[in-house]
């Protein structure tokens, strides 16, 4: 017997400020001009994607005490771009990454509620946390939050925002011109929140938006992050795009839902995925090799090695062997504003492992950085890529993927033109949008319906 085929969810991540994005390609356009965002969004909508995804950073990265200049630097404001994109698209969901550390619930809730109104129900919020004093230097509060409290604040932030969204039921605006009653409830929007991180009260000033609440994404991978997602998110932006590790993550997170009184279909797992297409699989492999070398120049390779070594390695030749000296195991000081450096929990072990690997394979520094990072998720002909994506989704490595092209803004075009039709032919991907809101696209219930169901079940 066989399960019914899962429908694949696809979304588009606007190319980011890291070395995945190849700015040196002749096809590469502006990362700031609205025309790039509009092109990208229209392609995603043409391909019937669920949503467009914007990341966020609140301080330019520095390395060795200087602004990091090898990657794309700079990006526009998330809310402002998403609201403008609502004007040039009709169905596409609009997902913004907004930090819960350097914002306040009242303001963020009114911005997402406004975006949801102005887009007719297409807003989503990727809730991220940070704590570093480096980023805090751009804000009123500075680096006020100890690392161990970032999820505590994020959870309370989201819970508070939900209280604000829910402070309007949705039926208060009567606007009866005859009787002169605008508001059917003189206390609409009233709220009081007394908590550790937020002690606020008053009245929320945005009446209920089409989706009730924005769709909630979570992207953290730590134990706390996974629990936060299982408890409060509608979707996870994960980093496990490979089949086996994807399945493991999928099982782990979906397995947590029951403890929170939720069912597996209430949380979508959507890994970030890169891709390189070619007419044949061999063509694609060759193209992918070229892209990886574009992504990792010699200078970039040295900088990436510094993430692990936590030392100035500028004297080393990227085409030569790895450094003999060991990483500085102390507090990371070389690279600032980059979450990536936290992945290397034992730099001495990583360095040892890399040296052995490089020696065994005859790799230079640049070869090593290329081979240990930046592997594209899907490489092949359109047929191969479509089959692979379908296989991953049907085998529960994911519910779909958030695609990260390496070229702005046209990097999604070939996928839309060549891969999407194959998925549609296979009956695993929509040919037309069926609903109007992002919740509709993702198969998520309206929060009110959700609440009603829970009430009925209890």
């Amino acid at each position: 017997m066989s399960k019914p085929l899962k429908q694949i969810h696809l979304a588009a991540h606007f190319p980011g400020v890291n070395n995945t994005t190849v700015w040196s390609d002749p096809e590469a356009g502006s990362h700031i001009e609205f025309s790039s965002f509009a092109h990208f969004a229209r392609t995603a909508e043409r391909a019937r994607f669920d949503f467009l995804f914007l990341a966020e950073g609140l301080r330019l990265r520095e390395q060795g005490g200087q602004i990091y200049d090898l990657d794309v630097v700079g990006r526009p404001d998330t809310f402002t771009v998403l609201s403008a994109l609502a004007a040039v698209t009709e169905h596409l969901g609009l997902t913004g990454t907004i930090n819960s550390t350097f914002n306040e619930p009242y303001e963020v809730a009114r911005q997402f509620a406004a975006l949801d109104h102005l887009s007719g129900g297409r807003a989503a919020w990727n809730v991220v946390t940070s704590w570093d004093a480096f980023t805090g230097e751009n804000f009123r509060r500075g680096g006020f939050l100890p690392q161990e409290e970032r999820y505590s604040r994020a959870k309370e932030f989201l819970a508070t925002a939900n209280e604000l969204f829910d402070s309007w039921r949705g039926d208060e605006i009567l606007a009866d011109q005859e009787s002169g009653v605008f508001l059917g409830d003189a206390k609409a929007g009233a709220f009081t929140h007394r908590g550790r991180h937020f002690d606020i009260e008053g009245r929320f000033d945005v009446p209920r938006s089409p989706q009730g609440r924005p769709v909630i994404f979570q992207a953290g991978d730590s134990e706390e992050g996974r629990e936060f997602a299982a408890q409060a998110a509608d979707a996870i932006f994960s980093r496990y795009a490979a089949r086996a590790e994807g399945q493991e993550f999928y099982q782990d997170v979906k397995g947590r839902l029951a403890r929170h009184g939720r069912t597996p279909d209430q949380l979508l797992i959507l890994p970030a995925a890169t891709f390189v297409l070619g007419d044949t699989d061999a063509d694609a492999q060759e193209a992918a090799r070229v892209v990886r070398r574009q992504q990792v120049s010699g200078a970039t390779a040295i900088k990436h090695l510094e993430f692990v070594w936590n030392r100035d390695l500028s004297a080393y030749d990227p085409d030569g062997p790895l450094p003999d000296i060991d990483p500085d195991p102390g507090e990371h000081t070389v690279s600032r504003g980059r979450a990536q450096v936290r992945m290397y929990r034992d730099p001495l072990a990583t360095a040892r492992e890399w040296r052995e690997l490089a020696a065994a394979r005859g790799w230079s520094i640049r070869d090593l950085v290329i081979e240990t990072g930046n592997r594209q998720s899907f490489v092949g002909s359109p047929g191969t890529v479509a089959r692979t994506i379908d296989d991953f989704v049907q085998s529960d490595a994911a519910d779909g993927f958030i695609l990260v092209p390496h070229i702005t803004p046209g990097g999604l075009d070939a996928f839309a033109d060549k891969v999407v039709p194959l998925l549609q032919e296979g009956g695993v991907y929509r040919t037309e949008y069926e609903g109007t809101t992002l919740r509709d696209h993702l198969g998520l219930a309206h929060p009110d319906a959700d609440a009603r169901d829970r009430l009925a079940a209890s």
Binding site: A38, P76, T80, L183, R203, A299
Partner: protein, 421 residues
């Protein structure tokens, strides 16, 4: 601070004005819900159930652009509207609820091409870093048509929405008390710091910082990215911005200012603004306000930098004699009391309004920001009645002469203060 290069003498001369003819007027409209009269939403022409939709705002701004207006402002606050000047109310007979003005402006930007978009932002509870990139981005999505109107919030109830600072509860009768005056002065000082941070962040990327130099692998020339190192009483901001310098370099900053409050609002115009909204009730009042603002400008050491002053007027506009006044009476009746405003309330015909604008304009105002009493009625009356009347008199543009807000206002694009070349 470094001087902003500008070939323009201050305000009194306007490059758009043909010589030997009456000075050209500039016109903006202030958009707020269904209009400025509290009963505006009850007019059949109003669309009170659509105030939170994109279509409604797109229609309004498109109409304003059809009338070749310089810009629209969009009202906002960090709490529900209230009929009380300092406290919330529990009224149910007026429009309540609105959308973030920056997002509304961004939503209509791709649907328009010439008109300036000036959302209101509250400086008291928000982060200048966030707002700086938001307005820079509005400038990108509108290709050079963004501005910003800054506003302080002295409302205790709005402070409680954030829970981060305490603002004492007070009534309008306490405004001149010492304690309240100190609070207000402090809020305006903070607003000036806020604008300083916005401007430094906009300048923190030099115009040509993005180099995409394939030979060296460098995307930016980091020598052209600058920490702003602002330290003030209320916040410090390191910078640089995460968003490159916006198309206009610095989107124009504006504020509404009244006399009183120990001169704080006028001082803010002097220190921080490119555009000021003022509320003269007659020519003498206009002249004295213009003089006071100019003095504040000089006191701030910025006398050489242009400041465009717009007179605010609430307008009821009808072509039939007496119709506008009758409409005002009818709306006052619906509201249960006469509408009062900080700005002069005009009722009459296009010709009468044009007379008034020309008369007040002679006192050194650049133009007017009209507040439509009923936006569904008075906005088209402005664009289709008043504008042709002013055009006939040779004092209003017949087509857009620029495609940026600075261009429309005759404000030169400033160089970054950090640029060395």
């Amino acid at each position: 601070m470094s001087s902003t290069p500008s070939a323009l003498p201050p305000d009194d001369s306007d490059p758009a004005a043909p010589s030997g003819r009456p000075a050209a007027l500039h016109l903006a409209v202030a958009l707020d819900g269904a209009g400025w009269h509290p009963a505006a939403w009850r007019e059949p022409v109003s669309r009170p159930r659509e105030l939170l939709t994109a279509g409604y705002w797109a229609d309004l701004v498109t109409e304003a652009e059809r009338g070749l207006l310089d810009f629209v402002t969009i009202e906002d606050s960090l709490g529900l509207q209230s009929s009380h000047p300092t406290e919330p109310d529990d009224r149910t007979d007026q429009v309540r609820g609105r959308l973030d003005a920056v997002l509304v402006a961004a939503r209509v930007a791709p649907l328009t091409s010439r008109i300036g978009l000036v959302p209101t932002v509250v400086t008291t509870h928000t982060e200048p870093f966030h707002l700086s990139k938001a307005i820079a981005t509005l400038d990108y999505v509108s290709t050079g048509r963004a501005g910003v109107r800054v506003q302080v919030s002295a409302r205790q109830n709005e402070a409680a929405h954030f829970g981060r600072r305490t603002i004492p509860r007070f009534g309008p009768e306490d405004l001149e008390s010492r304690a309240v005056r100190e609070v207000v002065l402090d809020l305006f000082d903070e607003a000036a710091d806020y604008v300083e941070v916005l401007r430094r962040l906009w300048d923190s990327w030099e115009d040509d910082a993005e180099i995409r130099d394939a030979a060296t692998g460098r995307f930016v020339d980091r020598g052209k990215l600058h920490h702003i190192d602002f330290e003030g009483r209320h916040f410090g901001v390191k910078g640089p911005s995460i968003t490159p310098r916006p198309p206009q370099g610095q989107p124009p900053v504006s504020a509404l200012a009244h006399e009183g409050a120990a001169g704080a609002p006028f001082r803010l115009l002097g220190r921080s603004a490119d555009i000021g909204y003022v509320t003269p009730h007659d020519s003498a009042g206009a002249a004295s306000i213009v003089a006071a603002v100019r003095a504040a400008r000089a006191e701030a050491g910025r006398a050489d930098q242009p400041l465009r002053l717009f007179g605010d007027l609430v307008v009821f506009l009808d072509e039939a004699p007496g119709a506008a006044a009758a409409r005002r009476d009818r709306l006052d009746g619906l509201a249960g009391r006469p509408y009062r405003s900080d700005a002069r309330i005009f009722t009459g015909t296009s010709a009468q309004l044009a007379d008034l604008l020309q008369e007040l304009g002679g006192s050194g105002l650049t133009g007017f920001r009209l507040r439509p009493a009923v936006v569904g009625h008075d906005l088209p009356a402005i664009t289709r009645g008043l504008v042709p009347e002013l055009q006939r008199r040779g004092v209003f543009r017949r087509s857009y002469e620029a495609d940026t807000l600075r261009g429309l206002l005759g404000l030169a694009r400033p160089a970054s203060r950090y640029a060395t070349a």
